[in-house]
């Protein structure tokens, strides 16, 4: 049977076919849909959202030690969080097969950096698979579990946005019966005290030698001989781009990219006049080949930044002198186009918080989620954003050196708070910080598309569970001042921020309005603008609501008056609260003159 599947859906299908017993993850673009697909389509496979990638990884390790095949999935920066168990996992090895999906994001479509996680394979001495389309994404998952169990090692499964989020036709197989290993207590293998770990490090080195041999033999690394004197060594989506540009070169297509099949590569290079390595981001493959004393080129023609594309690969081929001039687009680029950056949705409860923070002129240490959009003009109310949970530590440090005479506030979402904010609060309490933390609780993991988390009351598999009470949790951490505010009450939010920032002890402000999109769409009565009263002062434009735009009517200075799109206005009231002439009112209260 054939189905059109995304790379992520194909990984989920692969896990099902490989009889995986447990999958755990924290959501992160572009990896999120793997777990969502498992939850939706394969309920026989136990799947869970963990509070962060480190815990997700450790849960997976437990399942593997216990004998079940385990899958953990994360975005590239998620593996930074899970790096602690990951690095030592190379030493312990596995019982049930273990796959780590790292979905990298070249071009940073939805990320803070574009680190190349292939280095994590080399760093930890863990073998790596890189699929190049949806079919391979499924098939390589199934093979990955076999490799994991045969070589007693975790396997890094490295995807990128274009693999995760592209769809292709996939031939499905029936699920196999897994290996169902038994749990056997083995402290010398699973308890990494120094004496055990020293012995295991030797095992790691021996294993990597065996994997090196496997890499030379496996069909995951294959050569396409088209009789060309030009050879291309490539992996992942770069293979597709290169084939699109010039299908008739010879190709060495690598699917098992750590350890590299150096002998095979040497042979390939010997048989060609020119060999180029085509890979996205860092010269991971190229540098290892060069270290082995084999002459290849690559990065200097393709660059390290951003995604490759058929166009960029064609440009690189041309620079390298192996194809004629690249035909550029016949229709020129339209210059002078306005930008269309992502914005907070109409009715988004984060808007009120950022309006107040901007008004107060306070330094804002930001964090990762939809609310990072608070940095965009015209709100422009965020000063730092580095990684998950960083806001609280950043704010503590900024406040200790008195970076801003108006005070410092950390802004963090509910899911991000559970991910890595709890220890930040503990730091603030323990170290007598005066920092104020705003937890923007919209009761969902919104940015990644609405996943459950520890205070939503539901699990990934849709079961009811406890709702962790954030206010009680921060009180238990030692915060005495915990204040709930209504995110739609601008004056209240502003006055509470001012009061808490002035207070000489740590405090938490909790905003309490749900996301307007998820889990249910919230649409209250829309507002409208009385154009007779509107003075075109532009106060409502500055709150950056997509429902508000310029009308055709202007004031005497030719400035546009405002109009509200009733089909997308959720009736949050914020624009009406900041309208000086009170020209914005509920649609039902508007009486046309």
């Amino acid at each position: 049977m054939k189905e059109l599947l995304s790379g992520n859906e194909a990984v989920a299908r692969g896990a099902f076919e490989a009889d995986v017993k447990l999958a755990s993850a924290y959501p992160g673009t572009p990896s999120t849909e793997i777990m969502e697909t498992i939850g939706d389509k394969f309920p026989s496979l136990y799947a869970q959202w963990s509070p962060n990638e480190k815990v997700a990884y450790e849960v997976g390790v437990g399942a593997s030690v216990g004998g079940g095949r385990a899958l953990v999935t994360m975005k590239h920066v998620g593996l930074n969080v899970a790096a602690d168990p990951y690095m030592t996992h190379a030493y312990t090895g596995v019982n049930g097969g273990f796959l780590i999906v790292s979905a990298d994001d070249p071009e940073m479509h939805s990320s803070q950096n574009e680190q190349d996680n292939r280095f994590f394979a080399k760093f930890a001495n863990i073998p790596m698979l890189e699929p190049a389309d949806s079919q391979e994404s499924k098939d390589m998952v199934v093979m990955g579990y076999e490799i994991s169990e045969i070589f007693d090692t975790p396997v890094l499964f490295r995807m990128t946005t274009r693999i995760s989020h592209s769809k292709g036709i996939v031939e499905l197989q029936e699920p196999t019966e897994g290996t169902n290993k038994k749990y056997v207590k083995d402290s010398s293998k699973y308890v990494m005290i120094p004496s055990h770990a020293r012995a295991r490090h030797i095992v790691v080195e021996e294993r990597i030698q065996k994997l090196q041999n496997f890499s030379e033999e496996t069909l995951l690394n294959f050569v396409e001989d088209n009789g060309s004197k030009i050879g291309i060594i490539t992996s992942g989506v770069s293979y597709q781009y290169a084939k699109e540009v010039e299908p008739n070169f010879d190709y060495m297509k690598l699917g098992f990219t750590f350890p590299l099949p150096i002998k095979k590569i040497e042979e390939f290079v010997k048989n060609h006049d020119v060999v180029l390595v085509v890979e996205e981001l860092e010269p991971f493959i190229e540098d290892q080949i060069k270290v082995a004393g084999i002459k290849v080129e690559g990065k200097k023609y393709f660059g390290k930044q951003g995604e490759l594309s058929p166009y960029r690969v064609a440009e690189g081929f041309h620079k390298a002198g192996i194809i004629d001039a690249v035909k550029i687009a016949e229709i020129g680029v339209e210059k002078d186009m306005f930008p269309r950056p992502p914005v907070l949705c109409p009715g988004c409860p984060h808007r009120g918080a950022f309006m107040a923070l901007k008004k107060a002129g306070i330094a804002v240490a930001g964090d990762i989620g939809c609310y990072t959009l608070g940095v965009m003009e015209p709100l422009n109310a965020m000063d730092t954003c580095v990684c998950m949970g960083a806001s609280i530590g950043n704010a503590i440090g900024m406040e200790k050196v008195q970076a801003s005479d108006k005070g410092t506030v950390a802004v963090i979402g509910d899911s991000t708070f559970f991910h890595s904010g709890i220890t930040g609060i503990l730091d603030a309490v323990y170290n007598n910080s005066n920092v104020t933390v705003m937890i923007l609780d919209n009761s969902i993991t919104a940015m990644t598309g609405g996943q459950q988390h520890p205070s939503t009351g539901k699990t990934l598999m849709g079961k009811d569970t406890v709702k962790v009470d954030i206010a009680n949790l921060v009180r238990a951490l030692g915060v005495k001042r915990v204040i709930n505010v209504d995110a739609y009450d601008y004056d209240q939010v502003l006055s509470v921020i001012k009061e808490e920032v002035a207070t000489k002890e740590p405090s938490v402000i909790l905003t309490t309005r749900p996301c307007v999109l998820m889990p249910a769409r919230i649409m209250d009565e829309p507002f409208t603008v009385d154009l007779e009263l509107c003075t075109a002062c532009s106060a409502c434009f500055k709150i950056s609501c997509p429902a508000i735009s310029a009308s055709d009517e202007t004031n005497k200075h030719d400035r546009p008056k405002a109009i509200i799109d009733a089909t997308i206005c959720t009736g949050c009231t914020l624009c009406a609260q900041v309208c000086p002439p009170e020209a914005i009112m509920l649609k039902s209260q508007f009486v046309e003159a």
Binding site: K2, L4, T29, P30, E33, H109, S110, D133, T161, R162, H165, S166, K167, G168, I169, V237, Y239, Q240, Y241, K243, E244, V245, P247, S309, P310, Y311, A314, K327, I328, A329, E330, I331, G332, V333, E334, M337, F338, P339, R340, P341, P342, V343, L344, C345, C370, L373, M376, E377, P378, M447, T448, G449, F541, K542, S544, P546, I548, S549, A550, P560
Partner: protein
């Protein structure tokens, strides 16, 4: 464009239904027997930002994304976004542009930014085959603004070698039962919108 090789780029603004349209096209192409790949970006770009979906179909498809200047068909759910994406298109390609106008808040609040005047005319200066579709108006006549999607698919179907019945079958499987009839009407209204004889 040849009989066995199509590259279609769909652009619009987050929330307009670009992804559903590209799902339907890809599914239809697969059932016709093409190899199909499609690619789009999720996540931050969806929050009112630009959304684009690349669809490729051929006997064998490699890259899931289209090469600059190689789209046979450009479908835009918003008129200025059609202009922005024009350079992805082949000179002889067909552009299907909904007359929908969505001016972002940033353009309203910043004086130095401007929404282009008459973007469809600007497109016609550079491309010969541009269909300005009153998809919003047709959807309003049919009583549901969310039908824009299906109307644009109806227009597209005039330029694709797929049997109408197959399109309708895929649409039937993709929409809720109570919306099937109105979507079929929308598709058929779209089929009436074509390039004029001169442009074709």
């Amino acid at each position: 464009m040849s009989e066995n090789n199509y590259a279609i780029l769909i652009v619009g603004v987050g929330g307009q239904g670009v992804l559903l349209a590209s799902e339907i096209i890809s599914e239809t192409a697969m059932r016709v027997g093409f190899d199909v790949k499609k690619s789009e970006v999720h996540g931050m770009s969806q929050r009112g930002g630009i959304v684009s979906s690349h669809i490729k179909m051929a006997e064998k498809v490699y890259s899931p994304t289209i090469r600059y200047g190689q789209a046979d068909i450009l479908i835009s759910f918003e008129k200025a976004e059609g202009l922005r994406a024009l350079d992805w298109m082949k000179k002889e390609g067909v552009a299907i542009v909904s007359q929908t106008e969505l001016i972002p808040a940033i353009v309203t609040s910043q004086k130095d930014l401007h929404y282009p005047e008459n973007p469809v005319e600007k497109m016609r200066e550079k491309a010969n085959r541009v269909i300005a579709a009153d998809a919003d108006k047709i959807a309003a006549e049919l009583g549901n603004p969310r039908l824009v999607n299906t109307i644009l698919l109806g227009i597209l179907s005039n330029y694709m070698p797929f049997p109408t019945e197959l399109w309708l079958d895929v649409i039937r499987n993709r929409v809720k039962e109570r919306f099937v009839d109105i979507n079929i009407q929308a598709f058929n209204r779209g089929r009436e919108v074509k390039l004029s004889a001169i442009e074709a």
